[in-house]
Symmetry: C2
Subunit: 132 residues, 2 copies
C-alpha cells in the first residue's frame, strides 16, 4: 500500500468480484471491451473501475447486444463524459442513434411480455388458488 497506484487487481479477483469466468474477461479484452494493463511479469492488472464496466458488459450481452455494438456504446458511459468524444463522426452518431432506437424497441418488447407474464401469474393466483 504505497501512495500512488494502489487498489489494482489481477484477473482472479476481478473474476470473483464480477462473478465472471476468467475466460470471459480475456474474451472481453480480445473483443476490445476492456484494456487491462500488464504487470512486469505479464499478468493482467485491472483498474477497480472495471468492476462496474464488466457488470455493464455482462448486462448488455445478457440483453442481447453483440460485443460489436457494446464496443460502440461503451465510450458513451465514461464518467467525465465531457472529456471523451474525440472523433464523433456523423456516421458514428447515426449508428448510435439507431442503436438507441433499437434498445428502445427491445425495452418495449420486453416490457410488454413481462407485463403479460405478470398478468398471467396474477390470474393464476386469483382463479387458481393454491390447494393448501
Amino acid at each position: 500500500m504505497a501512495k500512488g497506484e494502489v487498489d489494482h487487481m489481477r484477473i482472479g479477483e476481478l473474476s470473483e468480484r464480477t462473478d465472471t469466468p476468467r475466460r470471459l474477461l480475456r474474451y472481453y479484452e480480445e473483443q476490445d471491451l476492456i484494456r487491462p494493463r500488464r504487470l512486469p511479469n505479464g499478468y493482467r492488472d485491472y483498474d477497480p473501475r472495471l468492476v462496474d464496466r464488466v457488470l455493464q458488459i455482462r448486462g448488455l450481452l445478457d440483453a442481447g447486444l453483440p460485443t460489436r455494438l457494446i464496443r460502440q456504446i461503451l465510450p458513451c458511459l465514461d464518467q467525465p463524459r465531457s472529456i471523451h468524444f474525440p472523433d464523433a463522426t456523423p456516421e458514428m452518431l447515426a449508428l448510435l442513434e439507431h442503436e438507441r432506437d433499437r434498445m428502445t424497441q427491445r425495452i418495449a418488447c420486453l416490457s410488454r411480455n413481462r407485463d403479460a407474464v405478470s398478468e398471467y401469474l396474477e390470474a393464476v393466483r386469483d382463479g387458481n388458488p393454491p390447494r393448501e
Copy 2:
C-alpha cells in the same frame, strides 16, 4: 374461399408477412414455439394469428431470451387467458416468476444504458455543434 376455414396461409406468405426467413419458421416449429397444421400434401398451414406470435418470438429472441424460455412464457400470452392454464405446477410458476424478474433486470439494464447513450448524443449535439 369456402365458408369455414378461410384465411390460412402457407410458409411463404407467413415469411413475407413477418419478414422472417422460412428457415426460421421451420426452426421455431422444431423448437415447439409454433405448431402449424399440415395440408393433405404435407405443406405447413398457418393460422393468421401466428403472424403476431412470430413477431413476438422474434422480438424476444432479439431481446436475448433463448427459445427454451420463450417456450415457457408463450402460453402466458394467449388471448383468452382464462382458458389456458391447464397444469400450472408450483415449479412452473416459480420459474415464470424468476424469468419475469430477469426480464425486469434486463429492462432496467437496457434503460440505463439507452439513457446514457441519449445523454451522450445530446452532449455531443450541444458541445460539439456540426461545423456546417
